[in-house]
């Protein structure tokens, strides 16, 4: 199969590829969002520790 035929996906390329691109975007975004969330929570926790408000 040549590349043009593969990209055309029969006559359904306009439907198939957006689905895979959307899925890829959602999967990548969720990893980035989770890592950001953890980094931000860690930063906030460290800030509280440095401010000396934390130990109980």
């Amino acid at each position: 199969m040549n590349l043009t035929g593969f990209l055309a996906m029969g006559k359904y390329g306009a439907f198939v590829w957006p689905c895979f691109l959307l899925a890829g975007a959602v999967l990548v975004w969720n990893v980035i969002a989770a890592k950001r969330l953890h980094a931000e929570a860690r930063r906030q926790a460290l800030r509280r520790l440095e401010a000396g408000r934390s130990p109980t």
């Binding site: 996906m9 390329g13 975004w29 929570a41």
Partner: protein, 245 residues
């Protein structure tokens, strides 16, 4: 029975460290499996005799739909454990799962809609399968909004847990909707008792994608859970040794 292992497992510092160690063990196999599944689904699997290449949307649609329900079930079980045994970590698992489940539900609805246009001639129909899946998205949104709207963490946990447990009634409705009502949506493909109505060439990439998506959820959950634990344990003394050293 000795329950000390469970208490140790549920302790926030232990869970925080364990989640950090487990995340890459979920993440890298998930990445490899999803790449393999994509190659199998997009390149190796033959075109469908009726739907042609449009059927390949199945390889992202079905795993997303499966994850939307699997994550909700996990979330509801965690919420029930948190509510009954007052295990805070279980509430943290439920809270960390909701956004991921919402994204998979959105993905299932969006890819299903795009698939529906060339096959059914419409982006959307208000039939039982599509409507019950949309209700699942609203349930996820409701859980996230409910948590955000209650300032007291314990009250928020309890309220979200009750909603999560009540909402689980929607899962069998989604699954059996294609049998209980007339619908444009096709019936079960791989969970049919007896034998699946899909050839092996098309089936293996789908199974690989489903396992990959499950492991992916595991990886994202571990990272989100760590963030959730940090936010909940903001005044705990173990944070000093964990984060500063």
């Amino acid at each position: 029975m000795n329950w000390t292992w469970m208490h140790k497992f549920a302790s926030p510092p232990h869970a925080y460290r364990l989640a950090g160690r487990l995340a890459p063990w979920f993440g890298w196999p998930a990445f490899l499996l999803i790449i393999t599944g994509l190659y199998g689904g997009l390149v190796l699997a033959p075109a469908d005799y009726q739907q042609g290449d449009a059927f390949r949307i199945l390889y992202v649609h079905a795993p997303s739909a499966w994850m939307s329900m699997f994550i909700y079930a996990t979330l509801a079980v965690a919420a029930a454990i948190g509510l009954i045994w007052r295990i805070k970590l279980a509430h943290a698992v439920a809270a960390a799962s909701a956004p991921v489940g919402a994204w998979f539900t959105f993905l299932a609805l969006a890819t299903g809609s795009i698939w529906g246009k060339p096959m059914w001639g419409t982006w959307w129909v208000w039939d039982a399968r599509l409507t019950s899946e949309l209700i699942l998205l609203f349930l996820y949104a409701g859980l996230i909004a409910l948590r955000a709207s209650i300032e007291d963490r314990e009250r928020a946990d309890r309220a979200a847990a009750v909603l999560a447990i009540v909402g689980i009634v929607n899962l069998p409705i989604i699954h059996y909707s294609v049998y209980w009502w007339n619908t444009l949506h096709q019936g079960a493909t791989i969970t049919k008792l007896g034998k699946p109505s899909i050839t092996g060439d098309m089936l293996w990439p789908l199974l690989v994608m489903m396992v990959g998506f499950n492991l992916y959820y595991g990886a994202v959950l571990m990272t989100r859970l760590r963030a959730e634990i940090l936010r909940r344990e903001r005044d705990a003394s173990w944070l000093r040794t964990e984060l500063v050293s």
